[in-house]
Every structure is written in structure tokens, then in C-alpha cells.
Symmetry: C2
Subunit: 206 residues, 2 copies
């Protein structure tokens, strides 16, 4: 890969992958950029262009073999492997995240949970004991964990992020409703459902 791939291209690949998994479930084995585009509300040209950054995965006249394309995308995204994830925050939100099946079903395993509140330490959350946040650094380093989720109140999120980064975490999924300041070498994604709702109310008539 000679040139840098635009971030916006990378961000669409998981969407393609998800659609391909769906097509497999529906029993389909081959698809085309047109079909995929129709399903996703994206132009077929864009899909072909995005995929072409990584190689020629299709065949003229017939389209893409779904199983092959899924494999390729998984390798590009590095999700053909299993990942260990640290979770910080064991309140309502953190507990819900820890219980959620969707993560490990798709290769992301929450393998430790941290909280700062003394009454939560030692309690079980799923199959794991809640650990004090003071143990985070040592544990995350020893397990070489690179991905973490933050589910603490907004006012503590930045501080937690800094602890995680010091411990070697390079990717953070932040559920706290606040923007984090991190070095360029660290990636952050945000989940704030209220923000999504606020993006739609603008369009609702009074």
C-alpha cells in the first residue's frame, strides 16, 4: 500500500463488512457493488473505489465473492483475530456494557473491569472481579491490552484516558459525553446516543 488511506474510507469498511455478514446469513454467496450500494444507500462507485485501495477483490461481469471479500476486509481491519479490551467504570452503563453479548460475539473480549469506588471493588461483573483503578496500569501492561472503553462520569473521563494511555492503550471507545484530548498516536471513538438524537430533532417539524 503505497499511499495513506483516507480515514473516511477506513470508517466505511466495517459497514461493508457488516452488510456482507448479513448477506451471508441470508444465504447469498456473490454480490455486486450495485447491490451493496443499494442496501447501504451508498453509490456503487464509492464502494468500488473504497475497496480498490486494498486490491482487486472482484471479477468483472460477476461481482464479489462474499466469503472472500469478508476475509479480505477482516484482514485489512485486523478483526480476523480476537482482541482483549479493558473496561473502566462499573456503574449502570459499565455494567450494561459488560453484560452485552455483542462484543465477544464479534471478537472483542472484555477481560478486565476497573472502578474507583471502594464498594464496587471485588464485586463480580459477569465473570470478572471489579479491580481498583490503581491496579489498571500494571494489569493492562502485563496483558498488553491495547483497547479500552471508558464508562465513567464525564468529569473523570479525561483523567481515566490519561491513565489508560500511560498503560499503553492505543484505542479508546469513550461512552462519557465529553471530548478527550489525546496524543496523535491514540485513537478515540465516541458513543453518545443523545448526540445522535440531537442530530435528528433539527429535521423534525414543529
Amino acid at each position: 500500500m503505497p499511499t495513506e488511506i483516507p480515514d473516511i474510507v477506513i470508517s466505511r469498511l466495517p459497514v461493508y463488512l457488516r452488510a456482507l455478514e448479513r448477506l451471508t446469513q441470508e444465504g447469498q454467496e456473490v454480490t455486486s457493488s450495485h447491490e451493496l450500494g443499494r442496501r447501504l444507500g451508498i453509490s456503487s462507485a464509492q464502494i468500488r473505489k473504497d475497496l480498490s485501495h486494498f486490491g482487486g477483490f472482484g471479477k468483472q461481469g460477476t461481482g464479489y465473492k462474499i466469503a472472500f471479500l469478508k476475509d479480505q476486509l477482516r484482514q485489512v481491519l485486523k478483526v480476523e483475530r480476537e482482541w482483549h479490551v479493558a473496561l473502566v467504570g462499573a456503574g449502570d452503563l459499565g455494567s450494561a456494557i459488560a453484560r452485552y453479548r455483542g462484543f465477544s460475539d464479534r471478537g472483542f473480549h472484555i477481560t478486565c473491569v476497573f472502578d474507583s469506588s471502594p464498594e464496587k471493588i471485588g464485586r463480580k461483573l459477569g465473570t470478572f472481579q471489579i479491580q481498583p483503578i490503581t491496579e489498571l496500569d500494571a494489569f493492562v501492561k502485563s496483558q498488553n491490552i491495547k483497547i479500552a472503553m471508558i464508562a465513567v462520569p464525564a468529569e473523570h473521563a479525561q483523567q481515566v484516558a490519561e491513565i489508560l494511555i500511560k498503560a499503553g492503550v492505543k484505542a479508546i471507545l469513550n461512552y462519557a459525553p465529553i471530548n478527550l484530548t489525546v496524543p496523535d498516536s491514540v485513537h478515540v471513538q465516541y458513543i453518545d446516543p443523545v448526540l445522535h438524537l440531537q442530530r435528528m430533532t433539527y429535521y423534525l417539524s414543529d
Copy 2:
């Protein structure tokens, strides 16, 4: 407002609003496009340009009065009012959503919960009884509900969306990991945390 505002501009306004609320909490009363930009990792020019679509909210030399700007953004986004929201799906995910405080704290009140599974009907979820999905149409229409969240398995999400749309819902927050096909008059936003994780693993070194 003479011309159509780009969707991407609208999508940033809630981010600005959230940052402004944070600044208020920190006791600040005035800010500038530079300060806001630094916090959000966005250029100051972009912030000024975005805001200028809706009017001149600032003062040369001094910047923006935070309280005033928040008010204006809330009105633009139509989040100065309270919204009623329908929730479909009372499984693990739906229950977590129903319990989550963050929605009503910020003006979005879940006022009804629907599920199709007979053993869940009638059970309490928070302060509400779970209703059969067959009642959805009548209830949503009678309450004039315009916003809904979908927290059902992927294979039922499209069907649920269609029921919601028939009942008059115009904005859907979809937690099911699948793309929905909807008319142009209906807005959809997606939340799939795994997708966010997959957007970051690409950048992690092996």
C-alpha cells in the same frame, strides 16, 4: 434561512453544544472559536463558519457568550423542548437503554416500551409496563410520538422500522447492527459499538 444547511454542519452542532455545557459547568461564561476548536480538535474557522449559517452569535474582539450561544443552538436543534421517545425491544439492550439516565437528563423521555415476546408483556421496565408490539401503532399515533429507538435483534429491525414509520415516527435511533431502508422523510442514526472498535483496530500495530 435561505439556503439548505449541509447535514454535516448540523451533525457538529450537538458537539458544540455539549462542549459549551461543559464549559458552563467549569464556570466559564465567555469563549472563542479558538478555544472551542482547541478543545474539540476542530479548526476555529470551521466553527465560525458553521455557526454563521444561523446568525451572528458572537462579538468581534470578545467571542461568544456561552449562555446565549447554548440557547441559540438549542433552538436551532429543537432541543430546547422535551421529546417523547418510544423504545422497541425489552431484552438486555432495551432494558439497559430504559434504565439509562442520560436520556431524560437531556430532554429525551422514554415514555413507552414495546416487545413482541409474550412473557415480557406486562412486566415493568423502569416506571413503564412493557406493551405488546401490536399496540404500538395506536399508542404512538395517539401520543403523537415522532422519535423511536430500536433495540431488537437485527433480523427484526427492518420490520419494526416499518411499523414505526407507519405509526408516524420520523426519527429512529437504531441499535440493531443492520442498515435500515426508510423513506427520505424519515431520519435514522445508528449505534453499533463494535463498528467503532473496528474503525480503530486498523490503526493498531500487530
